[in-house]
Symmetry: C2
Subunit: 253 residues, 2 copies
């Protein structure tokens, strides 16, 4: 299995390492800037390039892992290839690859940082293809990378993308509020870190609604009023406190 990676960001970096771990060969890494291509290519023993004309046209798999806005222009230069061409975007329709002979989507539903190691074998991979043969090929590849492979349509993938914002980006913002709150009083964020981790661990087997705790779900108005009082210097955080507490109460009536 010979793979060409188009992109050198967080997703491309983790995917490249997953391909290598599955004994596949990453032959080329392309990026707009040769420096970025080089950084990733060196890690996985691939050739680096910044010119799409130099792309290996005999690879089995081409993975487009660039910013959503750039997928169409990269795909435009991959027409006529025999290999399977996939993008990795959660928010982009499969149809963006309609001029490609063999196309699909390989969306890893996870938050990636280049510097943070991660067990790729547990990353949910969301697959789509309009062609049964191409889907089978993609499914076979994906199952060598992860044990969590799902067939997901473009419409479903968009829902997952919004849901990911709610369970990842927004909680991270709330972690930030907590961090700033304790920092204001010269307290260490280490006081909150175990709680953050345990909250995420709890829902690995339970449903969130079943393990909700805190003053809002208890209907403990006295504590909520005291908390609002402590936030008087932060009207923005008061707004969040009030609206989320109200929602928690409403869903648990």
């Amino acid at each position: 299995m010979r793979v060409v990676l188009l992109g050198s960001g967080n997703v491309a970096t983790h995917l490249a390492q997953a391909f290598i771990a599955a004994d596949m060969q990453v032959v080329q890494v392309w990026s707009y800037t040769l420096e970025n291509a080089n950084a990733l290519a060196e890690k996985v023993g691939a050739a680096a390039l910044a010119d799409l004309d130099l792309i290996d046209r005999d690879a089995d798999l081409y993975v487009i892992s660039v910013k959503d806005d750039a997928i169409a222009s990269v795909a435009g230069q991959l027409k006529g290839l025999d290999g399977l061409v996939v993008h990795t975007s959660g928010a982009t329709d499969l149809a963006i690859l309609q001029d490609i002979v063999h196309s699909g989507v390989l969306y890893p539903l996870q938050t990636f940082s280049k510097t943070q190691a991660l067990d790729f074998s547990k990353v949910p991979l969301c697959l789509e293809s309009a062609d049964d043969g191409d889907y089978l090929k993609l499914d076979n590849i994906a199952k060598q990378l992860s044990t969590a492979v799902f067939k997901i349509s473009s419409a479903e993938r968009k829902v997952l993308h919004v849901a990911a914002v709610f369970v990842c980006n927004f909680p991270n913002y709330l972690y930030q509020v907590g961090q700033e709150l304790v920092a204001e009083h010269d307290l260490s964020f280490d006081l909150l870190r175990p709680l953050i981790l345990e909250t995420a661990l709890k829902v690995q087997h339970a449903n969130p609604a079943a393990v909700q705790t805190g003053p809002a779900v208890r209907g403990d108005e006295k504590t909520m009023q005291r908390h609002m009082g402590l936030l008087t210097n932060h009207p923005v955080w008061q707004d969040i406190y009030e609206s989320v507490s109200k929602n928690i109460k409403n869903t648990h009536i």
Copy 2:
């Protein structure tokens, strides 16, 4: 070290097991109902009681771990003891124990469920006492239970209690929104669980603001508009999406 536990809820249950693990003796478990006292007492080889008059008056440590509203009435019956009396509440002032000879606070900053096992040695324990000798005694006990022991005043503890709502109760509500969103489309919550865990793992060593991802921090208005469109049937979730996204943008300018 002989300990009497007043309460049999989630916190009392985990504390009891931590005392046993540290080779301390839990001699009695009191609860309003004998049945609840029994359930916990049996686990740790203690006597169960529902009558505060029967309490062992020669123990070294009395831990009041009842609902905030009930602390005062329980404390009222513990006057004149020689042992150290502590409560475990995040939202309650030390002064509620002012009529006790030796008093303090032992607040474990964590979310506990009776059924979920947990490594107590990593739970942040927030200690307070008005008396240096009592503090030293409490500090010595706490360090046998956990490696994360902090000296925290009543005012600081109240800040931590609000912060805990932001980093635990509110993220859990957002997990619920994610779960309901995918359930509406017959998708499994397992698709989101690894993302939830990784988001919490990322801030165990980094600061949340430094690892924020998603459309809001990128200023990706097109994606945010699409997401808002997908949420039209859920005005409450749209409100959250809009306000939290705005806050993320504002804090990253």
